[in-house]
Symmetry: C2
Subunit: 343 residues, 2 copies
């Protein structure tokens, strides 16, 4: 039943409390806590002890306002349940780890107006940089980013014009490459299975590149099937059944992502189809999950981890007094043939 040292017990502590408890000025406490400027060893000890004893947690809001420095990096991505963005995040986090910078995530659910409001909200906290997925944004979003006066890195995609910097792969090229490999393997009746893509621009670009290569070879997509929402694995299974029923002559299934591809693969194996002889399959992303499947789905690694790493490096570099110029870094995904393309 001891009473607290001074005043209100539940008031949150400030520098002044630590200052009084340790008998030095607030400024000195601030210096100790930030490890900046010269403070004698004994004073430092006294201050640290007092801070620890009181359970003082600095107020970064006040600190940021005074110093005009915020150690946050806004990361704006469409989704987290996607298996692709967690890995990008890992790359970002790793790289930022020892720069004093901290990522803060915002989710847009692939909705441009939601992206705009998330961006607005994040910018209002004056972060040191922005990492944002994709090159397609609303006019207002682009304007905000251009105005913000901080490094902006648009990631995943480089088929377009970034506001500032960009790190990613060419999805159009990725689609084309996959198509070429499939054609070279002798498949001719190719179907596409993928997301409904009003706003999944990267899936759209892959499809465009893919169809481009098909038509160059005098071919056209034989069938296509779209989905949205639900368990991707299950959707892959269902869509595959639908396509194979509707178009029995199909000899290749190109999926817009690995998850539905995996579902499709499981379905084909279950039905006892000869993969890759009778029918071939390919996905996109190179997700870890594929390693656990009975046979390995053909895919393309989207360089997710490195994209995160490189983007974070750009932010960190510019924050610590780098140049202003916008860099465009293109990465090159590798085609993994797996066991589902013959040849």
């Amino acid at each position: 039943m001891s009473s607290p040292p001074t005043s209100d017990p539940r008031r949150t502590l400030t520098l002044r409390d630590v200052s009084e408890a340790s008998g030095v000025s607030e400024m000195t406490v601030s210096r100790v806590l930030r490890n900046r400027g010269d403070v004698s060893g004994t004073t430092r000890e006294r201050v640290l002890e007092a801070a620890r004893r009181l359970g003082y947690v600095p107020n970064k809001i006040a600190g940021a306002l005074a110093s005009q420095r915020v150690n946050l990096v806004a990361v704006i991505i469409p989704s987290m349940s996607n298996m692709v963005f967690p890995e990008v995040m890992t790359g970002i986090t790793e790289t930022l780890e020892d720069t004093g910078l901290q990522p803060v995530v915002g989710i847009t659910n692939y909705q441009p107006d939601r992206e705009e409001s998330v961006l607005y909200e994040m910018l209002s906290w004056r972060p040191s940089g922005v990492i944002i997925a994709g090159l397609e944004h609303t006019e207002a979003s682009r304007a905000m980013m251009a105005q913000a006066g901080i490094p902006i890195v648009e990631i995943m995609d480089i088929d377009g014009t970034p506001v500032d910097s960009a790190v990613g792969i060419s999805h159009r090229r990725a689609g084309r490459q996959m198509a070429e490999a499939i054609i070279a393997a002798g498949y001719r009746n190719i179907a596409f299975l993928g997301t409904m893509m009003p706003y999944d621009h990267r899936a759209r670009k892959r499809l465009e590149g893919f169809e481009d290569a098909l038509s160059k070879a005098g071919l056209a997509m034989v069938d296509r099937e779209f989905y949205s929402g639900g368990s991707a694995l299950l959707k892959g299974r269902e869509m595959t059944e639908a396509v194979l029923t509707r178009s029995p002559n199909v000899d290749f299934l190109y999926y817009s992502n690995d998850m539905i591809g995996a579902g499709g693969l499981l379905y084909c194996l279950h039905k006892g189809l000869d993969v890759p002889g009778q029918i071939g399959l390919a996905g996109f992303n190179g997700v870890e999950l594929l390693d656990g499947l009975p046979i390995r789905l053909a895919t393309m690694d989207a360089c997710r981890h490195e994209i995160g790493r490189r983007a974070a490096e750009i932010i960190a570099g510019k924050t610590h007094g780098g140049v202003i110029g916008g860099d465009i870094i293109e990465l090159f995904p590798t085609l993994q043939r797996g066991d589902t393309i013959r040849g």
Copy 2:
């Protein structure tokens, strides 16, 4: 080539800029932008127009400092690539959506000291509440949370003593329940396959509950296998092979999560084993992915979405002037027998 209205073109804008551009005081601008207090229609229009034209983004740092209110909720979880936490996040986000509160995520990678530093970092931004996974924290972490003077909700687990509120399930009971169902189905030679769990307390508690029920029935675990890192699906496959090779008499495989369970299931099916006659399997979590498998793995739904929802409701309620009392909300997972337990 027009020059900017005043001074430095790249300086970030403040209320004063909007104030000057619209000919009213900063205070009035502030009122308009926050939709608070009485402002005439014409003034409001003029201010909004000016703000839009200039591309003004308010500085929440200054706002928060002045108003002593921060619309952020700290959410601290072990991992994002886990399939379980994204769904909790969805529940949180949904519920917070129209409260003006915004979740901010921190990741601990199951490391207590990392949790401590993430917590410290987040508390230094003075959030309106904290949602944190688990009941086990360092002494310092518990002290910080107790001191913070804001609502704290510990989620996922209720087998223990929360700092303030808690929302979750009893993992011990969940393990026990699963064991009872398995025993009732007539399986007797049961093996456990799961994560190495220095800090995955929930997996540990499930195992404890499970073994508890086994021993009550006069049984003991026949074999066990642990993993850490890597593709869970693949690990499930590998561990299953290891166990079945080492202990051919095993007739049930209890997995600590659905992902490795799915890997094991695929392995068993691939080997042509009779599931669930010859061998049974069960996982934990009720992840969506299972819907896409050839047959449905037995599992227990961990109520992830509802946990997120309820936790967010507690925070929102207390923030908007609710009571202080710590609530403990227990949810009850449902056993989904699927097709991998006979009977």
